[in-house]
Structure formats: structure tokens, C-alpha cells
Symmetry: C2
DNA sequence: CGGTATCCTAGCTGATACTG
DNA sequence: CAGTATCAGCTAGGATACCG
């Protein structure tokens, strides 16, 4: 009777809604991707990896992800300061789904248009 | 040998990027949800179902979805005009993944904050 | 009915500082 | 190093009006 599967009138997307809002934002997916390849990563390290993102935005994205329970930050009271970000188990599970999505995307990749330039994050 | 699974440096999200841009936009998920419950649906019918969306935006979203190959429109040269929208097989496959996502979202539904209030029990 | 054409605004995004 | 504060630009989204 879990209606996650059989709902017909209520909105199944409700629960997704807020996560979706975060995931849909710029850079978020790329941040997650970078996190997924390493266990932990530091702020500027991540910033360099993304190259093009500003501190402002990166900090914002990370905060959102943290609030959604997808990322945890660990602060080391040192000087110079060190902060390590990592994915939560929740995010690890999401990772799997995103890979399904990636597989799906590759499978149906537009054979004609080819508008999906290999790298291009999605600027502008 | 398909590295959709094992990639470690390239961006797996690349292929997703443009679909993501569409899926991440407002209303899109809801449109898809409505389409998924019915085989075909007409413009204003959909508009009523979403209630709150403007013609401008709905038309835009539908066009985007069509371009992504997720939706097809069928125009009947009648008067008054009738246009039916439906999901493509590609979208049907995506539907499965989105349900996985919904399941994931429900599973990890914030037990504490409860900011994701299904129907918002408390205010603000 | 099923859209387009216009216009307007909130807010995301980014650049540029500046701190602990 | 790891951010915040501030300001500016652009654009997605919505309201409104109109047409085939």
C-alpha cells in the first residue's frame, strides 16, 4: 500500500520537490559528481575542480546540499582552517539513481541534433 | 566496457546536463506526473490540472519537453482546435527512474526538520 | 481551444571586495 | 584557507492581452 508506486491523484513528486529544487540548480550536479569520486574534499579544492564557480555560489550550493542532508562538513579547528566535505549515505544512494539517469540519458542521446556538446556544463 | 558505471574522471553528468536543465525547471516534473497517469491529455486540461501555471509557461515547458523527446504532440485540424500531448517511450523509461527518485525521497524524508511538510501541517 | 506577444519583477548568479 | 558582504546583470517565470 505504499503509494509511492501506485499513486494516481496525489503528487508523488511532493517529496522530491525540495530536493529537486536544489539538484536543479546550477553546479549542484557537478559538485555531487566531484564529491562522488573522492571521499572528502576541501572547499578550494572543489572550487578549483569546478573552475568557474565563485566562492559565493559554491558556499551557497554546499549549504543547500548540507541542509538537504546530502553533504556533511567537518571543520578542523586549525589554522589555516580546514574544512572537509563529503557525501552522506543518503547522497550515496542518490548517486546510484543519478547514474541510472546518466545511463538513460546516454541511451537516448539525441542521434541527430547533437546539441549536447561533450563537456559544456550548461553555461548561460 | 561501457564506462557509464565506472567513470572516474570524465563527467557522467554531461549527457544529463540538458535534460536536467529541462527537468529542473518549475512545473516540469508535475507535467510529467500528470502525463504519466493518462495516455493523452489536452492543453487546457493539463493547465487546469496544474492549476496556477500560465499558458505561457505551460507552452514553454511542453515545447522543451518535446524538444528533449519526452513528449509528443498531436494536432487535430479541427475547430475548435484539439491538441493532445503524450509521453514518448523515452519518457516512460524516465518515469521509472523518477519513481525510484520518489522512493528515495520518501525514504530519506527529513525526520527532524520536517520542512518538507507533505501538505504543510504547520505554517511557515 | 490552444496558443503567441509583451511587459514586469523576484531572485539566482557572478564579480569584487573583505575578514577570521 | 574558507568563507561572508555587497552590488550588479540577466533571466526564468508570471500577468495580461490578443489571435487563428
Amino acid at each position: 500500500m505504499p503509494e509511492e508506486l501506485s499513486e494516481a491523484k496525489a503528487n508523488a513528486t511532493c517529496a522530491i520537490a525540495d530536493v529537486w529544487e536544489v539538484l536543479g540548480r546550477r553546479w549542484t550536479l557537478h559538485i555531487l559528481k566531484n564529491l562522488s569520486t573522492r571521499n572528502v574534499i576541501r572547499f578550494n579544492e572543489l572550487k578549483r575542480a569546478l573552475d568557474g564557480i565563485s566562492s559565493t555560489v559554491l558556499a551557497g550550493r554546499l549549504l543547500e546540499l548540507e541542509r538537504e542532508g546530502l553533504v556533511t562538513k567537518k571543520i578542523y579547528p586549525e589554522v589555516p582552517p580546514r574544512v572537509e566535505y563529503s557525501m552522506t549515505p543518503q547522497a550515496r544512494e542518490l548517486e546510484v539513481i543519478i547514474k541510472d539517469l546518466a545511463r538513460w540519458a546516454n541511451k537516448w542521446r539525441r542521434p541527430d541534433g547533437m546539441k549536447t556538446a561533450a563537456i559544456a556544463p550548461q553555461k548561460k
